[in-house]
Symmetry: C2
């Protein structure tokens, strides 16, 4: 029966997992802002479950670095100062660069065509600029370039980095005017490197620099605003 499948689909995720994504999205959208105290019983009440799955969800979030946890005290949404964004971007620059280089040999012309199509959409997006949409496309573009990475650990680190970024800041591009345009140009450069079968080192360097430049742009823009 249809209702059966529906029920099963709802249940196919454990309550712990549902609690996890529920809390996670509330952190992402700012309902629970940094420093917010997460109380197990309270969350359990809101979710209509017991504290056990909530507890597990919190520990998962802790492993992701989204919340801090102190024994016998409780959990808080992780405070992220500006250095947090810096470190996350720096880490991502390294692992994503490596993942892209390792992916390169497996990337087919069809993949490059798809990435280029996404980049075209990003160009269109520049006109009536929607930072959120732009960031989504940005992830889709880069995903094409690194998803073929044969090393599952590195790939996992890249995913974690991106996940962290989405929580830290909905879109960097909304903060740094001009970076979006420079970014799509660098994307085309990356694609051309792949097409001409550049060395892994060239690709890794380019991919890393692409991210580092976004970070640098953010920092210098922030500094200019401070003075």
């Amino acid at each position: 029966m249809a209702s059966d499948t529906l029920t099963r689909n709802l249940d196919s995720q454990s309550k712990a997992q549902r609690a996890h994504s529920w809390i996670r999205s509330r952190i992402a959208d700012g309902t629970y802002s940094p420093g917010y105290r997460l109380v197990l019983g309270q969350l359990a009440g809101e979710l209509g479950v017991s504290v056990v799955p909530v507890r597990e969800a919190i520990r998962l979030l802790e492993a992701e670095g989204l919340v801090t946890f102190e024994r016998n005290v409780g959990a808080h949404v992780a405070m992220h100062d500006d250095t947090e964004y810096f470190f996350t971007m720096q880490t991502l620059s390294i692992v994503e660069g490596a993942a892209t280089a390792l992916s390169a040999p497996s990337i087919l012309p069809a993949d490059i065509a798809r990435a280029r199509a996404v980049n075209e959409l990003m160009v269109d997006c520049l006109e009536h600029f929607d930072p959120h949409r732009f960031t989504e496309l940005n992830l889709e573009f880069h995903s094409v370039l690194f998803e073929s990475c044969p090393n599952p650990h590195i790939l996992d680190l890249v995913h974690r980095g991106w996940a962290r970024l989405t929580v830290l800041r909905d879109s960097t591009f909304s903060f740094v005017p001009g970076r979006a345009k420079a970014s799509v140009l660098e994307h085309e450069d990356l694609l051309q490197l792949l097409e001409r079968d550049a060395t892994p080192l060239e690709i890794e360097t380019a991919a890393r620099a692409h991210r580092t430049r976004t970070l640098d742009a953010f920092i210098s823009y922030q500094e200019s605003r401070h003075s």
Copy 2:
């Protein structure tokens, strides 16, 4: 009272944490070999605790990649084929290389002296070769080089990589004759790079290559034995 402090110290670690390290060490020393079925109730019985902390311990181990977990089925010690070792070493080469390069500016002459002293011990160790001891010293040496890394995320990734390695293989050097000697020589090269304030890129490349060469040595040795 003394017994009071003792009790408190024992309790200062939660049962979940104790279960975690207990199971972990049993995986590391091979008592629980890859594929071994980890049953919550059974482990709880052996540890003299209830299943709840054991469950949490298992989830932690899962996050570390030491066990696989399937909903409503249970946990197994992760199977690691040879590719697993390859991927772990490759990942570590990348993050450790980056961490070492980022550490470089903060490394003092005293640190280099300490690392050099450790490397001397490794040279001594070559005579009456003890792989386990050699690997311990190897970690100590590299720790000096990367522990100053200002980026906590990258540092954490390096720690995870090393932790994973100790579980995968007690010592690579016991497998690959000759690599130990080459390794200590490369260590000295690394130290000299640091002393002459080489560029971050040079240091990162050297540190990464150092690890990659250990991996390559292992692979080619293994291939030679297969034929």
